[in-house]
């Protein structure tokens, strides 16, 4: 099949255009400077996952002052849970002479191992100081949120820290494992208890509850007397969506 003149002209023009395009591209690519590869990023595997807030920790502009009072929080340096009220009298005994007031320790007894070095700097609280903000425009900080993941992670961190003390609890009865306590903790920022653990609910057979309820509560009190203060992420202590200042868990024995 022969091409007519018009077809020959079109084909020729197309070939010429392609040749010109290839030449132009070759010349332009030859002038591209190749950027060096960025240095490789070192990845650190951390033990505690999910405790850090999603927002960046360094906040350029201080947030406005906190307006809500902090309720029920103990001073960070409190030595121990508040001492129990003095013992009441035995039922048939006459009143004993007044007892000396309990000695108040000014510092907690350093009975527990030193906490691990925190990855958070000493000045991490500067970003949420109570002093009024000097910035003109009130910044909107990316506040930490106590998501379900964070809650689960904090819960696991609490249980992991007290588990060694839980493991030491003595056997109290073959059927004690059929009773389960629901316990609420009120925690200070220091990781200490604001008040003794509170039993919200005791579940199980009524007879077994009567038999073992107090003993299990005793165990919980011993566990948190021995294995506190807890070390938990400060930014998740009290967020608009919750925090570890108020923590509820269940307790049972093997």
């Amino acid at each position: 099949m022969k091409m007519d003149r018009a077809e020959l002209a079109g084909t020729g023009a197309a070939l010429a255009f392609h040749a010109a395009l290839i030449a132009a591209l070759t010349l332009s690519l030859a002038h591209v400077t190749s950027k060096p590869e960025p240095p490789s990023m070192e990845v650190e595997f951390v033990e505690d996952i999910g405790f850090e807030a999603a927002a960046p920790t360094s906040i350029a502009t201080p947030p406005p002052a906190s307006q809500a009072p902090e309720i029920g929080e103990a001073p960070p340096d409190e030595a121990a849970p508040a001492p129990l009220p003095p013992a009441t009298q035995p039922r048939v005994a006459p009143a004993p002479t007044p007892r000396p007031t309990p000695k108040v320790r000014t510092k907690p007894a350093p009975a527990k191992p030193a906490p691990r070095a925190s990855r958070i700097g000493d000045d991490f609280l500067k970003g949420i100081a109570d002093s009024p903000s000097k910035s003109d425009a009130p910044a909107k900080p990316a506040a930490a949120t106590f998501s379900a993941t964070a809650r689960a992670s904090v819960g696991q961190a609490i249980l992991r820290q007290v588990q060694p003390c839980a493991d030491r609890q003595p056997f109290i009865g073959e059927d004690a494992n059929k009773v389960r306590l629901t316990i609420n903790l009120k925690l200070a920022r220091s990781g200490r208890l604001v008040r003794p653990p509170t039993v919200l609910k005791t579940s199980g057979d009524p007879d077994l509850r009567a038999k073992y309820g107090d003993l299990l509560e005793d165990q919980v009190r011993r566990i948190f007397a021995q294995c506190t203060p807890l070390r938990l992420p400060a930014e998740l202590y009290d967020t608009p969506t919750g925090g570890w200042n108020d923590f509820t868990f269940t307790y049972r024995v093997n």
């Binding site: 005994a93 006459p94 004993p96 002479t97 007894a109 493991d167 003595p170 038999k211 009190r221 049972r252």
Partner: protein, 430 residues
């Protein structure tokens, strides 16, 4: 279409929110370490008797098998004022988990108060306290009460330490042994003999209130059931006349006594009012029916019978109806006793050796608790946590009292001045 999609998406979102808010609370699991709790029991201040009170508490707590009591020797003293407010850090350093403190104080009525405090040293708090007013010669009971308070608070079990044991005291050589009914505190103190030993006696048993006994005395070489008042020492035949009667036990309300009587060559189980009257026959099947024991609700009786050819355990209604066998293991079964909670029956299993065992009240779930050569005659502690029995050593023939935990563990010997058999554990003393 758009509306349907919107509703579907809203449904999915609300489900997710609900799952988030109803998230199960995390669970902490305690270890249940099977080790004894270390308890410090220093000398109670206030009176020289305080050292002995503390010693009795230590001895009682050790006998439970749950604790490692320390003291009173070797522990620092404290003042009366410190009994309710001890220096917890000091006791923590002593390596104990709990502290029993207290004091002794005279009362205007001439008695004394023994104040007893239990502290959780680890948690740094008082767990319980109670005071006991006793006469000066009854300080041991106050010590037992204090030990019971500690045992109950730390174990969750009912008390059992302030109790007595009635048993048959055996003295003399094997071929000429004197057997007397004796009563003592459950720690072996205050032992006294209730019979003089003129007749051989067996199977003394407490009434539910602990104020009366029934036992068998071989008067004129025939076994006869006698009813004994502990306070007055008065006694009388349960069934007047010349009947052969044995294996007596009180009903749970204390008003009746169930026992065996051999009449016309057949041994059957009868019941009679403890205040006297005509006995009523409960069994009539050919064979020897004996060792009856009421269930704690008074509705059933367990007993042993050889009606099948060998000694086995049977249960019947309190009126004698519905008799059925509950033991099916190899060998023979004897001397059944219903547990205070009503859920178990202790027995003697005879299969070569004699062993003490327990089974479910309806039969089954059998567990052998002892491993002696000849262990027999079980009696429950009032809290159902221990069974006392007597053990005869092979060859020597010496018989002693032992107690074994029902949950398992080794049997411990009960301190008696001489040999002992057929123990019966009293209810808790008032």
């Amino acid at each position: 279409m758009r509306m349907i999609l919107t509703l579907l998406l809203a449904g999915i979102a609300s489900t997710a929110i609900a799952q988030d808010t109803q998230e199960a609370a995390p669970e902490l699991v305690g270890g249940s370490v099977k080790s004894n709790v270390a308890i410090a029991v220093p000398v109670m201040p206030g009176d020289p008797i305080g050292r002995q009170v503390s010693q009795v508490i230590v001895s009682d707590l050790r006998s439970t098998g749950l604790f490692t009591p320390l003291g009173p020797g070797g522990l620092p003293g404290y003042s009366v004022e410190e009994a309710g407010n001890p220096a917890y850090p000091n006791w923590r350093n002593a390596g104990v988990s709990a502290l029993v403190s207290g004091y002794i104080e005279p009362r205007p009525d001439g008695r004394m108060t023994v104040a007893c405090y239990l502290h959780d040293v680890t948690a740094g708090r008082e767990l319980t306290h109670q005071g006991f007013a006793v006469t000066s010669d009854n300080w041991r009971q106050a010590a037992h009460k204090c030990a019971d308070l500690v045992y109950s608070r730390l174990s969750g079990q009912q008390p059992f330490l302030d109790t007595r044991v009635v048993y048959v005291a055996e003295t003399g050589p094997k071929n000429n042994r004197q057997k007397r009914v004796a009563i003592m505190d459950s720690d072996g103190s205050n032992n006294r003999y209730l019979t003089v030993g003129r007749h051989t006696v067996v199977t003394p048993r407490f009434s539910p209130r602990g104020d009366k006994l029934v036992y068998v005395s071989y008067i004129g070489r025939k076994p006869r059931v006698l009813l004994y008042d502990v306070a007055s020492g008065q006694e009388r035949l349960l069934i007047p006349g010349n009947h052969i009667t044995f294996a007596p036990r009180f009903s749970p309300n204390g008003r009746d006594v169930v026992f065996s009587m051999a009449e016309n060559g057949n041994t059957d189980i009868y019941i009679v009012s403890a205040s006297g009257g005509q006995p009523r026959r409960l069994t009539s099947v050919a064979g020897a029916d004996t060792s009856p024991s009421f269930s704690p609700d008074g509705r059933q009786i367990v007993f042993e019978s050889d009606r099948s050819g060998t000694q086995q355990l049977y249960v019947m209604s309190a009126d004698g109806g519905g008799q059925r066998r509950i033991s099916f293991g190899g060998g023979r079964y004897a001397s059944p006793v219903w547990s205070p909670a009503g859920n178990m029956i202790a027995f003697t299993r005879i299969a070569g050796n004699f062993r003490i065992g327990v089974m479910n009240a309806g039969g089954g779930g059998e567990r052998i608790l002892t491993d002696g050569w000849q262990d027999e005659g079980p009696s429950w502690a009032p809290n159902g946590q221990f069974v006392m029995f007597h053990r005869t050593a092979q060859g020597a023939g010496a018989t002693r009292l032992y107690a074994v935990p029902v949950s398992g563990g080794s049997a411990r010997i009960m301190p008696t001045p001489a040999g002992g058999s057929d123990p019966s554990w009293s209810p808790i003393n008032n």
